[in-house]
Amino acid sequence: MTTTSSADIAIAATGISKRFGGALAVDDVSLRIAPGEIHSIVGENGAGKSTLMRVMAGIIESDSGSVEVFGTPVDPGTRAAIDAGIALVHQELSLVPEMTVAENILLGAFPTRFGFTRYKDLKEIAANALAEIGVSVDLDERVSRLSVALRQFVEIARAVARQPKVLILDEPTATLTPAETDYLLRMLSRLAEGGMAIAYISHRIPEVFEISSNVTILRDGRQVLTAPIADLTPQEVIDNMVGRELKEDLQTHRDATPGEVVLRATDIEAPRVNSVSLEVRAGEIVGLGGLVGAGRSELVRAIIGADNRTAGRVTLTRNGRSVTLSSYTSAVRNGVGYVPEERRTDGLALIMTVSDNIRLPNRQQLSRFGIKAPRKIAEFAQELADKVGLRPPEIEREAGQYSGGNQQKVVLAKWLGRRPDFMVLDEPTRGVDVGAKAEIHRLVKEMADNGTAVLVVSSDLPELLELSDVIHVMRDGRITGSLTREDATEQSVMTLAAGEAEAVA
């Protein structure tokens, strides 16, 4: 036990565990933050940072453990957390676009007299909150007209206006420029000097080193390390974020002999994508690594046309013939397949049968003059369902009744039916059980072996390393470096994704 009594600790989370479905998102994590301390919580995607934060802010209830503010236990629920003095800074999505800055800062808590808002008082309180964080914004401006950074600051002002004792921020700099990030960090330091306890969740190592006093590293839901930042180097932090006992080389070597360039994307620009170029060859698996907000999904969607791009050209080459891809429909027509990140909303129609889902992109070849050929469909779907190992392989069952892993197999199956020349997979095994994961990996490699050019986005480092022949790592909409299969390790990828270093491509 520490010598500081619990009554002096601004917020103490003890023994927090939370299970979602079968998986343990947070496993017995404890941390304490003193007033005036900035405590960073770091970990790669899926390490449990968000879950832990949501428990601390009262949004979800943990399965075990407790949260105390200055020694007093906090009941579950957002109301209780707010009353106890815990303020959470959401991403800017939590503002009402058409209301003014002042109104957003005090949303739900306007000062009133006989029901009428006392605007003078409202603005005064709002102005004070803004002054406290050192930002000057026109109080009457509508939030929708502010820049992303200012919206983030208004969000912080809202949290600060309630005079909290504890401030929790989740990846606040994900959408900010370096100058704005700098401003934010200085703001937080100032607030800490004033006695606020701050929990800063991030995976941007330079920032963590700039402002924190202490850091907690999470990995796979477990607390790997909690220490004063002064005792660590950035590389040590990164290593601890990813350091798994390096087992025997998982990478089943693929003798990849990539053929011609199938996909060439040049100078792609889109929201969150800053002039990226890349190529994928036939039979090659290219991986895109990076942290949340790096722009990977945005990049691939811009390449295939699922989202509009503001600049750049994409060409698809097969058998010597090149086609410029302009729209998503033309991409699919020309042999592009896409497994989207959000399986349930974009990848499948859950209340339709497996057979129907497989039929969707394949409908032209499964029909005659527009009329469906049921036997062909059944054969086709059954063959693919068997090929991907759908368990049980009942194609007339609703897709939504299968587990996540099986659902993902259905998504894969429908594209496999088209024998695509270029295949994009975004987080192919998110929410998928171990067995299905291995099968999906096998299928992806098989696709590549059959000549498909594959582009994979993944936050799962071991998966990225196992599948990819080449890994491009992205950060802030750019490719910070590329690694071949030989050079790629979890550390090297994470360093490019989170650290300062820009490796030689």
């Binding site: 407790s66 009941d75 909303t345 032209q364 469906k372």
Partner: protein, 334 residues
């Protein structure tokens, strides 16, 4: 704070209870129609005087036909998740007036062509606004209803058009096979054709897929705008045929025809078990819904209950049926 608890037996029971409730509600909202229709017809045969008479049955068919044709066509729009097409009222009246007015002067064939052109125009405007501009279908079709009716009233001057007493239109209107008038046969044929269109073609598949999950449909490589225009086109053609049938019934046409069709068709569709949220449903169910609504209306009329009460009944029916659907979904999600 939270204590460590294993999922207790109580929790397990409530979970299976709620999923059973969800199952029951879903089943009822989708299949209740079969039972209710059967009960209703039985009730009518036993308790309502004059229901079973040949004349009455023919009358029921006559009245059911045009509304039914509109309903089976509009099912496409509903299944696509776009709520409904309010402008069917204008489309039915327009088709009827064009049929009689044009055929009186130029013959049947040009009349049909003209009506077809009008239907396609409706479909194009509605479909483009909803499919490409992604505007709200209810508001768009509200606007096109008034535009359509305005044009119709202007060009027709509000006058009633009469078909020739021995023309082909009259012959069709009077014809029947046994107690079943030609118009009802048209309804049955349309039901079968549209049912096949919805269930057996790629187009129908896409309409349904769009209603289930727009995003996944688009990402499957579909030009969704064309699908929506297509759904409105089916509705427009159906409304046109309904207009023909209606005009043939009385051998007259006037711009006021078709009043109330939009909500009667919607009632039939919803009561039949097609979800107004899109994706679930079928043309055959709508047919059943048409029978139910027609029989119900007939019972009310035979019992001397005024038109007003009928409207109230249908409005309440719509709201209840949709509520059932909504509640079923809510419980299922929990």
């Amino acid at each position: 704070m939270a204590q460590q608890t294993a999922p207790s037996a109580a929790e397990a029971t409530t979970q299976s209870e709620s999923s059973r409730l969800a199952g029951t509600l879903t089943w009822m909202s989708q299949n209740g129609i079969f039972i209710f229709t059967a009960i209703l017809i039985l009730f009518a045969l036993i308790f309502v005087d004059g229901f079973g008479s040949l004349m009455n049955i023919t009358d029921v068919f006559h009245r059911a036909a045009p509304i039914g044709i509109v309903a089976v066509g509009m099912t496409f729009v509903v299944i696509s998740g776009n709520y409904l097409d309010l402008s069917v009222v204008a489309q039915v009246a327009t088709a009827g007036v064009i049929l009689i007015a044009v055929s009186n002067n130029y013959g049947i064939f040009p009349a049909i062509l003209a009506a077809l052109a009008a239907a396609m125009l409706f479909a194009l405007v509605n479909g483009t606004a909803v499919g490409i501009f992604k505007a709200n279908a209810v508001i768009v079709t509200l606007a096109t209803t008034f535009i359509g009716l305005g044009l119709l009233r202007f060009f027709s001057g509000g006058s009633i058009f009469f078909g020739p007493p021995d023309g082909p239109i009259r012959t069709f209107g009077l014809g029947k096979i046994g107690p079943i008038p030609y118009s009802a046969i048209v309804l049955i044929i349309m039901t079968i054709v549209l049912g096949l269109l919805l269930n057996r073609t790629n187009f129908g598949f896409l309409v349904r897929s769009f209603g289930v999950n727009e995003s996944a449909t688009r990402l499957g490589g579909t030009n969704t705008a064309l699908v929506i225009i297509g759904a409105f086109l089916v509705t427009a053609v159906a409304a046109m045929i309904a207009g023909f049938v209606l005009a043939a019934f009385s051998n007259t046409a006037v711009s006021n025809d078709g009043v109330g069709y939009e909500f009667r068709a919607l009632a039939a569709i919803i009561v039949g078990g097609t979800s107004v949220f899109g994706g679930r449903g079928s043309v055959y169910r709508t047919f059943l819904g048409v029978i139910f609504v027609s029989v119900l209306t007939n019972i009310l009329v035979l019992s001397g209950i005024s038109f007003g009460y009928q409207q109230v009944a249908l409005g309440v029916l719509i709201v209840l049926a949709v509520s059932l659907d909504a509640l079923a979904r809510k419980v299922a999600q929990r």
